[in-house]
Amino acid sequence: MKTFFSALLNFVVGTGEALFFFGDVCVHLLKGKIRWGEVLKQIYEQGVQSVIIIALTSFATGAVLALQGYVMLNRFGAKENVAQLVALSLVRELSPVFSSFIFSGKAGARIAAELGTMKVSDQVTATRTLGVDPVEFLVVPRILACFMVLPGLVVFSELIGILGGYTIGVFDANIQSSAYIHQTIRAINFVDFFSGFIKTLFFAAIIGWVCCYQGFQTKGGSLGVGQYTTKAVAFSYIMVVLFNAVLTKIILTFWG
């Protein structure tokens, strides 16, 4: 019983600290204390280096969707609808969630490990001794970069995923190229795109926040860096999945 209450207390305190940390970031953003040079550097490091892995996984996802979709839809004589299935699945759900997972595993882990290493080697404290706020210098640019990079990566992922579906649809399922493109364009309306995109903004904030917070909590040398980085990625995944469920319900309630 004592262990349960102790765990509960730790959870409440931890959540409170994490929220306070996020509040601190928001205060800096509202005050306009943004180091744009650092933000650009982070955009390059988080974005450019995630492009290839996002492209590969998105192409494969689109292709697999088309393969599976073709098998099922062909049973009902509706193989032309593969294009719609691929496009809608990717734009509304798969690209935002999958890209966020990959981004969390790549850029998020990098953020947590970088900040964690800085924490255990006193570089974060050194920032304070140099009269500079570490949240302003190290956290705000990273979170802002997440916010700018992930939506771009998701749109890129959607396009590449659709290309993967097109490749299977046209070259394997023998659907006419013009028909596939026409079906794809007809399938997606603004709400479909918007519902996926708005989720991405939330996911970006979550990944940036969780990974920076875990990085700043790191203790225990190199072992601690490994543990807190793993924690950062695991918490990001869980939060993305949970928020995806909540946001999907809200979006479907309001926009169908």
Partner: protein, 238 residues
């Protein structure tokens, strides 16, 4: 002038600092000696405002820093240099960029003036050739010199050094100790050094205090401490 009154700090059940009272005069070089875990570094972190005490006050030039908010402390720290035990240089910056960082952050100097100033400070610490190197390419002694350069680049009037000789061989320990003494004299800055390196501490200190289990058990000039008849002081110094 730095005045510490009744400073106490507890971590969980362990009393780390126990009613410390101390006065550090302007321009003085004070060495805090003590065994590992005696509370030296914790005391230094309190002086920098990195930790809040459970009791007591610390006044730097009349201002009680224990009552300051973090933004006030950030402002105050611009005037204080702090040398970390392991240097704590930014590993994503070169030595030059590390030393230039406080100037970029807190002064309006032009790029050329920053370059000149950094070169001058690097020369002072004997690292004029290492500006383009990253911290990972430096030896332990060089890292401490680079960190010392970063700590003094704003011509701070107060310098805190946490175990500057730890992990260094006797020759490098002596060299860094004399460098701290030289810088302290040239900049006329109040300097507080924590150490367990008795020989080098006695070479450079104006005043020495000895801490045991969070309490000051001896203080005075190196000569006074050497002549003390206290059993612990004798044992520690032997």
């Amino acid at each position: 002038m730095i005045t510490i009154k009744g400073l106490s700090k507890r971590f969980d059940q362990q009393l780390v600092l126990d009613n410390i009272n101390l006065e550090i005069k302007k321009g003085e070089l004070l060495v805090i000696l003590g065994e590992s875990g005696s509370g030296k570094s914790v005391l230094l972190q309190h002086l920098m405002g990195l930790l809040k005490p459970d009791q007591g006050s610390i006044a730097i030039d009349g201002q009680d820093i224990t009552k300051m908010k973090e933004w006030q402390l950030l402002k105050m720290r611009k005037n204080i240099g702090y040398l970390f035990q392991e240097g704590a240089l930014y590993d994503f910056m070169t030595v030059f960029e590390n030393v230039a960082f406080p100037l970029v952050e807190h002064t309006q100097l032009k790029r050329k003036d920053i370059k000149d100033k950094v070169k001058r400070v690097l020369k002072t610490v004997g690292l004029e050739e290492a500006g383009n190197k990253f911290p990972s390419e430096l030896s332990g002694g060089m890292k401490k010199r680079a960190a010392l350069a970063r700590a003094i680049v704003l011509d701070s009037k107060i310098l805190f050094c946490d175990e500057p000789t730890s992990g260094l061989d006797p020759i490098k320990s002596r060299s860094i100790s004399f460098l701290i003494k030289k810088i302290s004299s040239e900049l006329h800055c109040t300097t507080v050094v924590t150490s367990h390196d008795i020989r080098n501490s006695f070479r450079i200190a104006d005043q020495v205090i000895l801490i045991k289990e969070g309490k000051v058990v001896g203080s005075g000039t190196p000569r006074v401490l050497q002549d003390s008849q206290d059993a612990f002081i004798q044992e520690f110094l032997s």
